[in-house]
Amino acid sequence: MPDTDDRGGPLAATPAQTIGPFFGHALPVPDGGRIAPEGHPDAVTVHGLVRDGAGAPVPDALLEFWQAGPDGGLAGAPGSLRRDGAVFTGFGRVPTDAGGHYAVRTLRPAAAGRSNAAPHLAVCVHARGLLHHLFTRVYFPEHTAAHATDPLLAQLPEERARTLLAHPDGPGRYRFDVQLQQSADGAFEETVFLAFR
């Protein structure tokens, strides 16, 4: 039960626990990665690998995406769990496959609100063996000017910022890999993960 702080301070938060190995029959939903309305001419694919510190693909991760629409709107819409193919809900959820690969089909966001942030996808990474989910972001390579003023990217050294950039991967396709841990041989730079305060 939540404890009320005698001083009227904030309630103590419920702690997180590992998602465990058995979420696969519970959390993924049909068409969870089809964020873009069906047949939308501007739809793009964002796909990639989730890897661990040994360079091995992570076959039991679950990625959640939350984003503004092409108009910058962040109101969202119901329907992410039972897609009708017409509504852009702004939310997607996809498990990685046996090879550690994921893919979502979405619309590129515009910058939201008054923020000087560059357009991006917010990502929440869940996986067996993590004690707490991880937050990261996917930025797009077209917004070089906006990246310079983005409150997150602008504070990062180039090699760290690069881990948050999707790479062009053919027409209408972007590649974004999630490296959970820096590999010992340095071949894979660890993705930047965020603690929101």
């Binding site: 039960m1 939540p2 009320t4 309630l11 103590a12 938060a13 419920t14 702690p15 997180a16 626990q17 590992t18 998602i19 465990g20 190995p21 058995f22 979420f23 029959h25 519970a26 959390l27 661990d52 040994a54 959640e64 939350w66 984003q67 503004a68 962040l74 109101a75 969202g76 119901p78 329907g79 992410s80 769990l81 039972r82 702004g90 966001p109 609100g113 923020s115 942030a117 991006h120 869940h126 067996r128 063996g129 993590l130 004690l131 989910h133 991880l134 937050f135 409150p151 997150l152 990062l156 959970l180 841990q181 820096q182 660890e190 993705t191 993960f193 965020l194 603690a195 929101f196 305060r197």
Partner: protein, 233 residues
């Protein structure tokens, strides 16, 4: 007449679950002060409507033609943010083992029976007071695959707040379970008061005569949100 047995010594503290160490970032998480970007995308979050949840999603005992085995229970509670405000109309998801301690998951090799009338997956949306409610069966305990210990009965929960930052995945435990002091995963929460927040309360008054046993578990979501008050942080 033998002398009364001395109280059992407290169990040795279990080694806290560390997870898959090759999956943990080596670098500390990068702090992101949402005060510097009050329009940050993560201060909002997905919305779910009545059509996202099916009629029987919140009653795990009614998802198949037959009756599942096990002790009928309800689990209800409120979802609040840290300022005590109810989280309304948001998605709550659960998954759990059946009464014998077996998940409907192909990778669960525990040799306990599957129940053809129980999948162990549920969803609901919170009401205007932030309340959620599930009807299910009490999950069984089961041994870890390495047989190092048994996991106490627990239900996995997934919550969304008004902000993506408030996302929470955790596990709920049952009061009085003798396995609680031995569980490595519960022990991964290091503070005893925090561990206590993961244990539901039995509600005798809510347990109707011959109705399901009622458990209450309130949840407080962490993380900044767009509606956070100045004095809250």
């Amino acid at each position: 007449m033998t002398a009364p047995a001395s109280p059992a010594p407290p169990p040795p503290a279990p080694a806290p679950y560390r997870g898959a160490v090759e999956r943990h970032p080596r670098r500390p998480l990068l702090p992101f002060d949402t005060g510097t970007d009050p329009d940050a995308v993560e201060l909002t979050g997905p919305v779910f409507g009545p059509a996202d949840v099916g009629e029987w999603d919140a009653d795990l005992t009614r998802q198949h033609p037959g009756e599942p085995l096990g002790e009928r229970i309800t689990v209800t509670g409120r979802i609040l943010d840290r300022a005590g405000r109810p989280v309304r109309g948001q998605l709550v998801e659960i998954w759990q083992a059946n009464a014998a301690g077996r998940y409907t998951h192909r990778q669960d090799r525990h040799p306990a029976p599957l129940d053809p009338n129980f999948t162990g997956v549920g969803r609901c949306r919170t009401d205007d007071r932030g309340r959620y409610a599930f009807t299910t069966v009490k999950p069984g305990a089961y041994p870890l695959p390495d047989e190092s210990s048994w996991r106490p009965a627990h239900i996995h929960f997934s919550f969304f707040g008004t902000a993506f930052t408030q996302r929470l995945v955790t596990q709920m435990y049952f009061p009085g379970d003798p396995l609680l002091p031995y569980d490595q995963i519960l022990a991964a929460v290091r503070d005893p008061a925090d561990r206590h927040r993961l244990i539901a309360a039995f509600d005798h008054a809510l347990s109707l005569p011959a109705g399901p046993l009622a458990y209450r578990w309130d949840v407080v979501l962490d993380g900044p949100s767009a509606t956070w008050t100045e004095e809250g942080r």
